[in-house]
Amino acid sequence: MAERTGPQEGAGPLPQKRGKNKGKGTFKSLLPLLPFLAFIAYFLVFPLTFIVRDAFLSNDGHFTWLNFEECFKGVYGHSFYVSLRLSFISAMIGAVAGSLIASAIVKTGSRTRKAVAATSSVLANTGGVPLAFMFLAGFGAEGLVTKTLKALGWNIYGGSFTLFSETGIILVYCFFQIPLMVLIFSPALENVKPELREANDSLGGTRISYFSRIAVPLLFPAFLSTSLLLFANSFSAYATARAMTAGTLPLMPLLIGNLVDGNVLANQEHLGHAMAVSMIGVSIIVMGVYLLVLRFSKVRS
């Protein structure tokens, strides 16, 4: 912090003078941000440039598109599809279930709401081996829930269900997706003022007109943007996928992990890099939509 003697120079009146002497002051006003920018450059930008570079290199160090062609073909291309589908479904389930829960919680007292928010923040961060074991203990073939349901006459393993199938993984992902939705969507719900409902009623509106014309348009941006966040969340989930599938389900993060750990074949790191870059590409598209939605949601007062 010793190098931070700069701020007070810029700490004049808040509204910055724009225009005229901008060029001159630009570098000076950037100085206090240098430590932060240097840190980001080294620990974030630098590693990213390396994977992008390596994604375009062949094993003998020449430029090539082959890695990208490869990663959309065969088992790798398939993993792309499986990952996208699984992320989409788990995001939708999480978003719908989460908003239903949030809309019930919002009616309770402030202490309950705080406790739910705290609990959600813990659950949203569970993953990996601990989460996998809880589901094995609960929904595994010998699990408590499975046995209980069986005793009640419903054998969940009657069909093709296993915890290691796509359906199983989605079920497991729900354990952190739903709380994440509750966590992020609740504040938006709490912002819906009761006066809007009362205004609707006094103007002769019905329950249906309130929901369709007022509540849904008001909450849709928050709902959509949070759903996209859930999508990105499950798309990049690695720890849980690794703990759950042991390679049975081809998910992109798992294949990348295998490729770079040399578990499959040697000399395929660059394919891994290409896949990693493709994943970033997908996330950028999703986040682009997210930011777009946020911009339009400025409509809200």
């Binding site: 003022k193 009362e198 205004a199 006094s202 103007l203 002769g204 007062s301």
Partner: protein, 355 residues
């Protein structure tokens, strides 16, 4: 554009309880067609509860709500046709101003062109004819409340309900919009109930003011009546400034203050002859003259506060060191400098007694 449906409202024996707290007790109020009644009282006095019961937003109450002779207590809020303006922030944030105003017509399935014309007409009425395409958050607080008023009027409501519509606004905007609401209400002629905690606002806007305390309607009368002839001590003390002067009770309808006989107005407290009490007298019902510091009405000028056309002088009574306030035209006040000895004179003929 006077509305055809001028309705009368009768609230009879309303009672509302929240848990252990009684919000409203034996509340009776009648509004004549086209009348504007303001309910005035401190927060928690039950005024908003009364309005919300009329709107149908608070249910589970006792008593009757009669509109044009029909009891509507069992009709839900959205079928009552009441136009309501809330304290603030009640515009639908995803709709434009015009869509907001047209909303009530839309849920009534009025066709598109008709409701656009009607909404535009109302926006003109509140002086925002060119703001139809804005969103709520692009308007100032005062403009938002104008839109809320237009929205409430668009459905040609039986009754217009205003729940502290001005209290979130700046002082200047508040007076301006207050006068505007009065103008529009007179023009449209809708029976209106206005709830506020601001005396000046209630006095300025209402045909009649209802003063409420602890869930009870103490008095409902035209503003000047409330001010000049408060029905009891509670109302007298709540509305406007009041001096308390020691009084000697001579008989059931006569008392003496500073050696001057005054008529005692009928009060709810029975006055026992021969005892003393406090007479309630307004600052403008007192005057001063320079004196010699002797006699029961003598006092010393403590300070003067210049309020424009009027000046308020505070004096300390020689007899009991109590402080009185006197208002008088500023030109007259010049002679009473700090420290001068004065005699206090009373110009009231009949007064209330705080026993």
């Amino acid at each position: 554009m006077t509305t055809e449906n001028r309705v009368s409202v009768q609230l009879k024996g309303l009672r509302k309880v929240y848990g252990d707290a009684v919000a409203l007790e034996n509340f009776n109020l009648e509004l004549a067609p086209g009348e504007l009644v303001a309910l005035l009282g401190p927060s928690g006095c039950g005024k908003t509860t009364a309005l919300r019961i009329l709107a149908g937003l608070d249910t589970d109450h006792e008593g009757q709500i009669i509109i044009n002779g029909k009891d509507i207590a069992s009709i839900p809020a959205n079928k009552r046709n009441m136009g309501m303006v809330f304290q603030a922030y009640s515009l639908f944030p995803t709709m434009t101003v015009l869509e907001n105003v047209a909303y009530g017509l839309r849920v009534r399935r009025v066709d598109k062109e008709k409701r656009r014309v009607k909404a535009q007409e109302l926006l003109e009425l509140v002086g925002l004819g060119n703001m139809g395409n804005r969103l709520a958050h692009q308007l100032s607080g005062g403009q938002q409340q104008r839109v809320a008023l237009a929205r409430a009027l668009a459905i040609q409501p039986n009754v217009l309900l205003l729940d502290e519509p001005l209290s979130a606004l700046d002082a200047q905007v508040r007076t301006q919009l207050r006068d505007e609401i009065k103008r529009i209400q007179t023009e449209v002629g809708t029976t209106t109930l206005f709830v506020t905690h601001d005396q000046e606002e209630a006095m300025a806007i209402a045909d009649r003011v209802g003063v409420m305390r602890h869930g009870v309607l103490e008095q409902c009368a035209p503003p000047q009546e409330i001010y000049l002839n408060p029905i009891n001590v509670k109302v007298a003390k709540f509305v406007g400034a009041m001096n308390l002067l020691p009084a000697e009770i001579l008989s059931a309808n006569e008392l003496r203050v500073f050696g001057q006989k005054l008529e005692l107005r009928a009060s709810d407290a029975a006055a026992p002859t021969g005892k003393t009490g406090m007479a309630l007298i307004r600052p403008e019902q007192l005057s001063l003259k320079l004196g010699d510091g002797k006699g029961p009405a003598s006092a010393t000028v403590v300070s003067r506060t210049f309020l424009g056309p009027l000046t308020r002088i505070s004096v300390r009574m020689v007899a009991d060191s109590s402080t009185l306030f006197i208002s008088m035209p500023s030109a007259q006040a010049l002679q009473f400098v700090e420290g001068s000895s004065v005699d206090v004179q009373i110009h009231a003929t009949s007064v209330l007694l705080d026993a």
